[in-house]
């Protein structure tokens, strides 16, 4: 059973690898849309990566409503 903290870490690792960021460049309290400079296509790409990694379906509106990585992790965690 994953903890919320481990889900946050996995999202940070996935985002760092996918968007080629230094480890630590993105934190749990960051607004990832702003921090990653995400446009519509990148947001969909991230959504696909998250769905594949966690083997869940995450509706777009859940990601849209997440203000930071922690709240995104909470939404993912609720579907694990």
């Amino acid at each position: 059973m994953k903890t919320l903290e481990s889900t946050i870490e996995e999202i940070l690792d996935l985002a760092a690898a996918h968007f080629q960021l230094q480890k630590g460049a993105l934190t749990a309290d960051d607004d990832f849309f702003e921090k990653l400079g995400i446009d519509s296509l990148k947001a969909l790409d991230l959504l696909t990566q998250l769905e594949r990694h966690f083997r869940i379906e995450l509706p777009d509106y859940e990601m849209q409503g997440a203000s930071n990585v922690r709240s995104l992790a909470e939404r993912i965690h609720a579907r694990l």
Binding site: F33, S40, L41, E57, Q64
Partner: protein, 273 residues
């Protein structure tokens, strides 16, 4: 030899396959120019079938973003600004009637059809994909019908064909929430016929199209009539409903807002504080 190089769409025949390439930057937005070229396409298609020049059709996008983003909403908004209510009604109905003819010709095409899909497949592009017999998609492709965010329904035949091809609960989820669906989920739901590694949809769709050309054309057309009935009555109703919805002030306002948005998920309604 049937070949055409358009501004938005091109086609040629190779190995008895009519290959349609969508190539309007940035996202194959479907506007008046696209429609004119698609009308020319379905005429060429009918000619190729009559001449027994082709045994299959393959449709794919050369645009990196994907199969397509849907209707050209900026063009739609700009054009409607110059028109009064009565003229808007006439013009939107005329546009829908014309694009429905194209979609129905493709849907009922006498030879089997395949779409190779990568990236985004939204709105009108998804509606085009729904006319094809086989949908081959990259694992990372995403499908969506976000029209409700504008106060509209899909207008190019999307609802009747989605209802025909997908389980009703999934159709409701896609339509009513405006969310997108990943290709893996779409495959599990039965919407996608073949799922491929990223970047391989076109190769695999071409292989499928080659296979389609080997089978008896008349038998294929007969089989298709059984498994893919055309929902003509519902398609007619869709034009009526779309036209009425389109004429509401809320739609004009939604289109205006859309043209000004710069946030990431523009296909969803804006977040309200």
């Amino acid at each position: 030899m049937i070949a055409f190089q358009g501004e938005t769409t091109s086609w040629n025949v190779r190995d008895r396959i009519l290959e349609i390439t969508l190539h309007r930057e940035p996202g194959n937005e479907i506007g008046s120019r696209t429609l004119e070229e698609w009308e020319r396409l379905v005429d060429a298609l009918a000619e190729a079938i009559d001449g027994e020049e082709i045994g299959a059709v393959l449709c794919w996008s050369a645009i990196p973003a994907g199969f397509g983003a849907g209707a050209d909403l900026r063009e739609l908004y700009e054009k409607m600004q110059a028109l009064g209510l009565a003229e808007r009604r006439t013009r939107i109905r005329e546009f829908l009637t014309r694009i429905h003819r194209v979609m129905t010709e493709l849907d009922e095409c006498a030879v089997p059809t395949v779409a190779a899909i990568q990236g985004i497949c939204f709105g009108g592009a998804f509606e085009l994909a729904l006319t094809m017999d086989l949908l081959v998609a990259d694992r990372s492709a995403r499908f969506g019908l976000p029209e409700l965010r504008l106060g509209l329904i899909p207008g190019f035949g999307g609802i009747p064909r989605l209802k025909r091809d997908l389980g009703n609960p999934q159709a409701r989820d896609l339509l009513l929430t405006g969310r997108t669906m990943g290709a893996e989920r779409a495959y599990d739901a039965g919407l996608i016929t073949q799922l491929t590694a990223d970047g391989r949809a076109l190769d695999i769709a071409r292989a499928a199209a080659r296979q389609l050309t080997k089978l008896d054309r008349k038998a294929a057309a007969s089989a298709k009539a059984f498994v893919k009935p055309s929902p003509r009555e519902e398609l007619e109703r869709e034009i009526d409903i779309f036209t009425e919805l389109f004429l509401r002030p809320v739609v004009e306002e939604s289109l205006r807002t859309f043209t000004q948005r710069t946030d990431a998920l523009t296909y969803l309604p804006p977040e309200t504080p």
